[in-house]
Amino acid sequence: MAAINAEIRRSAYYDSVVLMQLQRALVELPGVQDAGVVMGTTANKEILAQSGLLTDAANAAKADDLIIVVSAEDESIAGAAIAQVDELLKRRHTQAANQTYRPKSIDAAARMMPQANWMLVSVPGQYAAGVAKQGLSLGKHIFLYSDNVSLEDEIDLKRIAADKGLLVMGPDCGTALVSGVGLGFANRVRQGPIGVVAASGTGLQQVTSRIHQLGSGITLGLGTGGRDLSEAVGAQTALQGLDILSRDIETRVIVLISKPPAERVARRLLRAARATGKPVVVDFIGYQAPQAEDGTIHFAHTLDDAAELAVSLSRNAPPIAAETPALPFAAGQRYLRGLFSGGTLAYEALLLLQDYLPAVYSNTPLEPAYRLQNALVSQEHTIIDLGEDEFTVGRLHPMMDNDLRIRRLQQEAADPQVAIILLDVVLGYGAHPDPASELGPAIAAARATAQAAGRTLEVVAVVVGTDEDPQNLSAQMEQLQQAGAHVALGNESGVRYVGERLRNLNGIVSGKPVSLDTVQPPLAAINVGLESFAESLHAQEAQVVHVEWRPSAGGNERLASILARMRER
């Protein structure tokens, strides 16, 4: 038989919301038909009356009394329900959860963790470039796990990143080790003296694990994504990686891993590898290197081989000097201008400089892309063959007549971006009877011009001749040296001398260098996409904020495109 039980608690104030929740909990008990838990105000009593819950006892309650009324199938159920009130009230206090807020937008995440220097992106490919771009605009390095990102987007992202001094590792980058923390799929590898740049995820895992097994460790393991070494992308991330490792003083040996890249890209990478000034183990997986060693470059045949070679080199490598020796040039001086009278000398210079510089313009370039628009005006690094027809129409060959070269020398000396001028001086029968008597004063004047403008201009002269030539080799050399030129007797040695200095002057990558601070511990990251990446960062005690990301406008393309246009305008 239905029963209504009521309990009155004197002077027991509870917030009405607490009471409403309690009431809901009571109604949910089996066999309970209705319940009221209210303070005994007149208005509340009217409400109870409307529901037929206002017993005499409840009606007698005062405004600061707590009324608990339960109507149930029978007396015992009603009584049992009321007996549970304290239990229900107590349960509420223990539920206080300890979770923290999970942001829904990247902006909110960035505000929550302003110190985050990385963003991990593993959203579906169609959205990945947009998310990564947002991360770049917030100044974050990007670990781009997502695949199905278009080549155009990859090039665009990497260009934006380079301008900002940021890294885009990926797309389709599965693993990296940064600041002692593994991103994506990564092994737990100890810190050590070896830095790795890898266009292959499992390659990076294999090599770093092996290095760990051999008792050594890793400074940084930087992924690039498999397409980075394509001709179109031009190894942008790999080059940035080599640049970082070259400047990181903890890194004593560098390992570079990829499938065999395009020929031109390979050459660029090897040039950059040389420019690091550190031993570099290169494993272009399956690549048949012409020799095992090439200066500081050591070719490995397998991943195991690469790890072992790196560990052994790291044990024997001399400590790295903290700073490379300072060059005398002023800020902004970085380009070479080569003014050759000998065509073959110019050609060999262009070939040799490939080891040092990404591009040299010329009126006789190695590749059409680097042909000077106007042979009378130099661009960036330039080698001119002044013996070409365009310069010799109506005048003597520059081996006989120094006039054109001297004027060009003055022109180049006035360019504030020029650091080094390279000349050849060819002696012998038929040549000018005393070229140094004209070139010497011109060199001195050019250097003086630069000096007056607060710059240091270096002039390097390659002299071709013998002590039996009519001009007298040693007398010519002496005059040139007195004018302030660095004189070389072989074309290769002169060009390589120039190349070394330019390499130091121009760095490994164009664009803004990545700040080393941003790849040092502690790692703080924003994770957008796979939650497991956030969990593994958390497990490694890195700071991470996971974004509960959804596509813009829930994937509604029309609205998303409106929003995109509003952002851009």
């Binding site: 917030d15 919301v17 607490v18 409403m20 929740q21 009431q23 809901r24 209705d34 319940a35 009221g36 838990v37 209210v38 208005a43 009217e46 409400i47 109870l48 409307q50 529901s51 037929g52 819950l53 009324v69 509420r92 539920q95 206080a96 959860a97 300890n98 979770q99 923290t100 807020y101 942001p103 829904k104 937008s105 902006d107 909110a108 505000r111 959804r550 813009s552 406008a553 829930g554 509604n556 029309r558 609205l559 409106i562 929003l563 246009r565 509003m566 305008r569």
Partner: protein, 413 residues
Amino acid sequence: MDIDRANTETVERMMEARPVLVGLGKAIDVVPGMRHNLLLHAGPPITWDRASGPMRGALIGALLFEGKAQNAAEAEALVKSGAIDLEPCHDHQAVGPMAGVTSPSMEMYILENKTHGNFSYSNLNEGYGKVLRYGAYDASVLKRLHWLNDVMAPVLRHAIEAGGGIDIKALLAEALHMGDEGHNRNKAGSILYLKALAPHVAKAAPNADVAAAILKDIGDNALSVLNPVMAACKAMADAGRNIEGSTIVTAMARNGTDIGIRVSGLGDQWFTAPCPQPRGLYFPGFTAEDGSPDIGDSTITETAGIGGFAMAAAPAIVTFVSGTPQDAIDTTLEMYEITFTEHKYFTIPALGFRGTPTGLDIRKVVETGIEPRVNTGIAHKDAGVGQIGAGLVRPPMALFEKALVAYAEKYGF
């Protein structure tokens, strides 16, 4: 066009507005555009045939109160005949809680924005129980309305004028530090209001009995300050209206059938969708099935950067939705994701005195898929029953999507 700059101007104006309660007056005398055959109501425009139960009940009650009808049937016939016009409060610089029905002879709070000079208005709060704003219109309801209008209002007017006005913005800022969020919880604000009024009521009342009755009424009603607060929020939101290119919401209101928003850069156009049903807790004897779709202009509080947006300030009421104090914090943190700025003057102690999320931005709502979070009372779906619970509601995404499309069309995106 620089959208962010337009939005900055909108929110600056909203935040710099300083609404002061300066007096009271009859709607017909003070509310712009008020007419003898006009009833104002909450939310976007509505007609009788589409009106919800509580809205119909309140319209009937108002006509009875005005003496234009002798019973419900007469009142209904009068409205249906077309002799009575229905217009949104929002079109007359006014706001009203729940049904928000305001008739010509009702006494209105007058708020003046001292910074920008605009005025706003709201009716008087009737308290809990059976009240007109929930669609009740029996004799007790009308009797109370007459007491408010004839006894309390004249005294309040004198008291407010004698005190030189009450700065509601300052009151709100203080109440947020005392556990109010300014929408569902106005306990602290109402006590501050009582404190400000009391000495002047004591002097202005014709005798001690009337003074005591008025002070008791205000003191017993934990929502007594809600109406001035809503009008203050209206004055602040209106200060941000009609800024060319701005994507900030300047009005958000429900009439029990439709919910609507207005956007600063889109003038007075309403964007509407069906009202959702609130989620929450119910008084004894009632369930979700008894509830009316959401109703009232009180979402002007969230529009101005308080209410549900300032939930972190009011942990005591988070249990409306299951919650823990962390839920209150999370609610406010989530609202930061869809608002343009943080309030300069309304701050939240539990968040290190961070400003409340201010300036609901349609771009961010659509972008993130986060619907705003609004606190609300729950009305019975039938006229005259009254409030049956309280909870929260999320204005639907469709509102913001429609507004975004209209914005794109107007501004050529």
